[in-house]
Amino acid sequence: MAPAIELEDVGRAYGERTALAGVTLALEPGRTLAVFGANGAGKTTLLRILATLLKPHAGRARVLGRDLPEDGWAVRGRIGLLAHDPLLYRELSARENLRFHARLHGVEEARVEALLDQVGLLARGDEPVRTLSRGMAQRVAICRCSLHEPELLLLDEPLANLDPGAAEAVAPLIGRDAGPARVVISHDVAHGLDEADVVLGLRKGRAAIVAARGDVTEADVRGLYAA
């Protein structure tokens, strides 16, 4: 089976500013890549390249066995993105948002109800997203990104704003044992390392750490955040 992710010297710039450069790594299906780095280190840029939303300007990127950006169309429906923003329409209810995305992904509406039930929002599913707390909106966003049972989950701080109960409720959808390969951006070093199979540490857009979990210490990762 092809690796879920293969990157070779991948780079990306915004005008004159280099956001990402020389990132090389591979991630096997079902494994977790934990991405660490200070603000502006290039984590979100990497996530958006993997999600096919940004084109790499250098190097070679393959996701789920397909070359990006050429074959981006072939992998879009197989990726689940939980971005920093929830990607939900604030005036629509959780149920309306999820039904809309279910139609785009060709998913049965019954799955929407099952997911709302799973994350404990069945009773509040008809309330506009703008009236939900951040944690609740995050739960809806997690439903959205796992609605179509993706093979690759791209998660930007997935547990942000979630209480321990909610974090437990979403674990079967986006947790380590959920099944899909995962790329997880986290600022919680200890928890991020606990979940990781492979660790990527970014500093100013460059890969300062690329290693298997066993070869990286917490101190190594904390060093990325040092001034």
Binding site: A51, T52, L53, L54, K55, P69, W73, R76, G77, I79, L81, A83, D85, P86, L87, L88, Y89, R90, E91, L92, E96, F100, H101, R103, L104, H105, G106, P128, R144
Partner: protein, 223 residues
């Protein structure tokens, strides 16, 4: 088509909840008619002048709708979510153009009677059957250009400037053709025959720009 349907239903639901586009477009039209009434110091208009006032007003009102067309997609991440779905991207163009077309029709249902009461000398009722195809063809052209320009402008910080600066020159042929087609319908002595060639111009414009927009829209969504 199911993707287009889902996108249209979503946009109509958002408009019903927020009421950001259609009411503001209508109120703008109404205010403009009042301004023309006092600015021209005329109680009634007919012929070329009536036609020109109607189309310029509707066009400026349409610009308000174009500006708002992609705001929810940009501000609430709809673009990213849509781009991650395994669907044809031109569905977004078709859906947005259909929504803008619907907004224009809704505005006209209220604005044209208001125009008739506030400014128009001859009764528009007699000319209504002939006015309808002009309105629909012109709305289609404005919706096509508005969707294309709205998608282009939403990627920039100067959205409010870009939309009128690009869309107004592009829809000039629509205003010219619709103005010429409508003028005889508003004649002082009663509605005259609809000049068919201007309907042809509107139809050709819609066809050419519709195909062009379908061809380039995908690129506007690319990184």
């Amino acid at each position: 088509m199911s993707t287009v349907g889902a996108l249209v239903r979503k946009d109509l639901r958002l408009e019903l909840r927020t009421r950001e586009s259609v009411p503001s477009m209508f109120l703008f039209s109404l205010s403009t008619f009042v301004l023309f009434r006092f600015g021209l110091d005329r109680e009634t208009l007919s012929g070329d002048l009536a036609s020109g006032v109607l189309w310029v007003t509707l066009l400026f009102a349409a610009v308000l709708g174009m500006n708002r067309l992609f705001v929810a997609e940009r501000e609430e991440g709809g673009f990213d979510a849509f781009l991650l779905a395994p669907v044809d991207r031109t569905a977004l163009f078709v859906a947005k153009a259909a929504v803008l077309f619907g907004f224009l029709v809704a505005v006209e249902i209220a604005a044209i009677p208001a125009f008739a009461v506030l400014l128009l000398g001859p009764s528009p009722l007699q000319a209504l059957p002939e006015l309808l195809p002009v309105l629909l063809l012109a709305d289609a052209g404005i919706a096509i250009i508005g969707t294309l320009v709205g998608a282009l402008a939403i990627q920039t910080r100067a959205r409010d400037l870009i939309v009128p600066l690009i869309s107004l020159p592009l829809v000039l042929p629509v205003v010219i053709a619709a103005g010429h087609a409508t003028a005889p319908l508003f004649a002082e002595a009663g509605a005259e025959a609809l000049p068919g060639r201007w309907l042809g111009v509107l139809g050709l414009y819609d066809l050419v720009f519709g195909l062009l927009a379908l061809a380039v829209f995908d690129f506007l969504l690319e990184d």
